[in-house]
Each structure stands twice: as C-alpha cells, then as structure tokens.
Amino acid sequence: MNGTIHNEGTFLNKIAQNLGRAPITEGISVPVWKHAPQKEVLKHATQNDLVEELQEQSKRVHTQFHLTDSKQVVQCLKQVIEELGNGPLIIPKDDRFSDYGLADTLKEKGVHIWDHQAGQKNIEKAESANIGITFSEMTLAESATVVLFSSKDHGRSISFLPSCHVSIIPKSTIVPRMTQAAAAIRSKVTRGELVPSCINFITGPSNSADIEMDLVVGVHGPIQAVYIVVEDK
C-alpha cells in the first residue's frame, strides 16, 4: 500500500521559484559525469590481488581474516567459533549453510535459524547470541566490507545484536570497491526489481572515537568481526 505525501506542491514550487524557473517533475536524466576516478581503483587487479587487498585491509579494520576452501571451511568455522567462545549462534535461513556442509557443525554448537514465523523470538535469540554468522552477498576489497541484504529469512538483527559477527565470503563475491556493488544494485533496479528494505555495508566490528579521538572497538554492534574467504566458491 502506498504511503502518504504531504505539502509537496508548495514546497517544490518554492524551490523552482528560487531557482528562477518553472517546476520540473519529470524529464531529467542523470548526466554522464565528466570524471570517473572511482572506476580506476583496483581496475587491473586479478581475483587473487583482490583477496590480498581484502586481507590487508581487514587488518586495518580490526577484523580476523581466514582463507580456506570448501573442503576445509567446516574445520575453519569450527575453530573460529571455539576461539570466539562458542554459542549460542544465530544464522539466517540460507541454503548455503547446507551447501557448504556447515549445517551439522552449527547444529552441534547450538544454532538458532532465523524463522520469520517465530516473530519476536528471533530478536530475543539474536540478543542472547554470542555469534551471528552470515554469507556476504558482495565483498569490497578496497575497504574490507561485506554486503548483506535483509529479507524475511535474513533479519537485520543477526549482524548487529550478537557480540561477534562472522561473515563467510565466497571468493567470487569479491569486487574492487563499493562502485561495483552500487552498479550491481542499480542494474537490479533498472530491471525492475525492488531493493531489499535493508542493505548493509559492514566493515569490521563497531567502533567509536568519540572520546578524545581514541579508537574503541565494540560500541553498539559486534565487538569482534571475522571474515572467512572460501577460495573455490
């Protein structure tokens, strides 16, 4: 159902009047910009170069980085979970956990799988979870950023309420920077798809430098962040 719009006419007329022309509500297209430096960043990097960049940048954003493959990923995740102090765990309802052979291990460790029919209970589970685990949809090498899309099976709380956030990164999702992620989202829009209600670009753990510009890691969101790159996915 459409929402309401109040006072638009007078508001926009005033803008047009001050700009010294008649109001425009259609017919403007985004120009081709004269400069495009964003497209030059890591332009010639291979996929392996991007993994290296991601690894380097992960350090700078206080994020543990692991490189593994689909055979070893179970063991790697198990070890990460133990190092972070075990469960409770929370994950989105996402087939990739089974596809990567992780479902049994997660079950053993005590996992809550986001279930939209259970409503508010999911948020309580997320709040009491030690670790939230997600799959990155797109991964930005330059800034060491994972991108998550919300849905009824993937609640926003999973990556914010638990004390730790582990993100599994299929190597094929790694792109140079936010430019490529924005372009991918925009092409969905041009195809007529709706963007998810929440898109998160998450770079490491939460932090603040509000007290004397001293960096404190762990404010309102997760205190620790871990990336696991899966090479052959």
Binding site: L19, I211, E212
Partner: protein, 476 residues
Amino acid sequence: MAMKTSSAKFKDRVDEGIQNDFMRLAVSSAQERLHGRRLTAVDELGSWEDWRSLGQEIRQHVLSNLDFYLHQLAENVSKRGGHVFFAETAEEASGYIKDVIIKKKAKKVVKSKSMVTEEINLNATLEAVGLDVVETDLGEYILQVDDHDPPSHIVAPALHKNKEQIRDVFKEKLAYTQTEKPEELTAHVRGVLRKDFLSADVGITGCNFAIADTGSIGLVTNEGNADLVTALPKTQITVMGMERLVPTFDEFEVLVSLLTRSAVGQRLTSYITALTGPRDEGDVDGPEEFHLVIVDNGRSSILGTEFQSVLQCIRCAACINVCPVYRQVGGHSYGSIYPGPIGAVLSPLLGGYDDFKELPYASTLCAACTDACPVKIPLHDLLRKHREVIVEKEKMAPLSEKIAMKAFGIGAASPMLYKFGSKIAPSAMSPFKTGDIISKGPGPLKTWTESREFPAPGKESFRDWFKNREKGGKPS
C-alpha cells in the same frame, strides 16, 4: 537545541573559549588527528582532484534539479509504503514528528546523531510532552547526560571534553564507578543503551544521503547505533535537510566515499546502510511504519543566490578540522550548532544575520577550508561575500571590521595579493590603535592574535605549516 546554542555575546564566547585550556588542548589534538587521517586517506586514494570535481558536479546537478529529485524521492518512498512530510519550517517539522509519536502512544524514543534534528529543536519539543528521548551516538549521549551541553563539532560532538571530564559526568549522573579509560566508559554506555534500543517505541535518524530513484535513506556510522535505532522500534522517523540527496546508488557510493575519507580518514565507516521504506512483508525486524520528514527551514532561500554552493555540503567537517580559528576558539564560540567555516557560512543564512553576523569575521580567509572541501565549496569566498552583505546591505559591521574585511578580502584573491594583504593588514588596522575601538578590536582578531602567531604566508603553504607544527597538540 535550536540553531543558536548561546545567548552570550560573541566576544564573550570567544574569550571563554580561548581561556579554556582543557578545551583547547582537546580540540587541537583532535583536529590534528582528524586532519592527519584525512590526508593519509586522500593520498592513498590518488586522483583526489578528480574525486572532488566529481563530487562537486554531482552536488551541483542535484541542486539545479532539486524539485525533480525530491519529487522522485517522495514518489518512491510512498510506493514502498513510507509517508513523506515536506516541512517548510523547523516548527512544522518537529510538530509533525511529535504528532506521529503521540498518535503511536509511544513513551521512549531512541535517536541516532542528526544535526538537522538539532536545527529543528526536536528533543526539546518531544521532551516538553513528556517523552523519554535518548541519544545513542556515544558523543551525543555524553552531551545529553551532561545536562544537554551543546555539540562543538558536527562529526565528533563531544570533542571539547576530555576523558576525565566524561568520567566525572558519568560518576555524577550514571553512578559510574570505573576509570576514565575510553574502553570502560564506552562499555558502560553499551550496556545502558542496549536496554533502551530494545525497549524503544520510536527510532529517529538523520539522513546522510537519500537515493531518489529507489526511495532509500543512506546512513553512515561507526558505532552501529543507527542500525539498532532502525531495526528494533516499530516506528522509524527519518529527518533530512532537503538538499541531502543523490540521483542513484552510483552517486551515493561516490559521495559516501568522499564523506568517510574526508570526515574520519576511513575508506568506509563500519556501517553504511541503505534503508528503503518500512520492513518488507514477512520481515521480523525493521519498522512497521516509516516517515520521512524533508526540511527546508531557510534552505530554499539560499537557492539561486550567490551562496547556493553552500548547499553542496555533505557535513564531513574537513573544513572545521583545518581551520586555525576553530582551533583557537573551539566550537562553542560560534554559538551555533554548525561551527567552523561551514558554520560561519551556513548559520547566518539559516539563522539570520541578527544572531550570527560575527561569524563571517571568525576567519582569516586563509582558504584552508576551501582546499579541504571534498565537494569544492568556495568557503572563504562565501565568508567574504557575507562580509560584503553585512557591510553593504545590512550596515551592521563596525568600521574596524569594514577596513579589516577589505584588507583580508583583497588578500584572498591570489597568493601574491595574500602576501600583500597580510603586509598591509597591520597598517590597515593601525588607525584603530587610538581611541576606544582598539579595546574591542576588529572582530575576534585581537583576542585571537594575542594567543598565537599567524601562519607565515609566502614560502610555507598553510598545509605545510599545519603539518610541521609541533606534535602533541599543545595550543600554540
């Protein structure tokens, strides 16, 4: 808190700032760190001038077609089930928000940091009807706990306070028992605010950039507070200055890159979030109801004037972090929620010359602000234009300021003339060494020059001078 943060006279505010050693040490050290981080982030990116030109081009295009993009934004927000309210004045904006909250029978409101909500005096409006309003950005929370101390910087609002002062405030107000270590102070706030996030009925955010063609709201934070503010309460209200939007995700990403590097020297901050409408069908978290309040409050009357470029601003505070005057007098001296060079340009335009006529004189016109601006706002030119308006049209400036303005105004035009200008400045002001005017001085210049030396114009650029300054952040 509305735009105006103090009823004291400008000169008294400046005197108070200059005599506050705690504050000056905190400010100069913060300024150095932020400035250094920005230079590193900009250097490693390369092609910075191209980035700035792109930023400027995008912002200018949006401003020239602002009605088109706002219309597109409103249509797309509404298509996704969100409600849009266009507010011409601060009162209309805060009144609408108050009504929405009352209708929801809400009691507790959590907020993420937003300068425009300060501008429309939102907290006071909501508190007046008995609502519990909690700021969740760490810096804003510290100020709120300290009896609503005004912000002194638009990115790091509590930058004027040191950790011992914060510890003492927490001890007094929150029964805090630990030390002044930032880790401990922060962990305490995490515990207190987590309960507020979970029990709040309404979440209020500002908006870094709205995206017109998807109807999305972009939020940029490091703490993750904006995400909890928008994920947990049942109602979300987002307030945006009417110029804060971009055409598509492509331009969103460019401006976010400019913002995070310029503001805090990060490639991206920890959390960049694009929110579209209320929660989707079947979603468990995210708001059930979403309202977008688009605020004019004096902005439209800047359009089509010689000051239009100030609306390109993306609120990164890079200009504040390089300003030698801000360094000396601190944010509170400006008496506006918008301090520093951007505040000195914007405050008189939004709040009027009556309250803010001194601010354009709180500048050396050294142009460091213009150099630092990621979207190429000619800040020092705009400051000079303000002085012209004040002198020529408003007839408000004292004679001393008029002469000083001319001396520095000429100087700002070129490096050659700058040299000349600073040479003639002393003689331009010499007539005032007699009579009673000297005791008041030409604007804040007198108090300011008493406490420090001018950067030497000529051989050493301002940037080099700044870089080479004594480390450790002692006020010079």
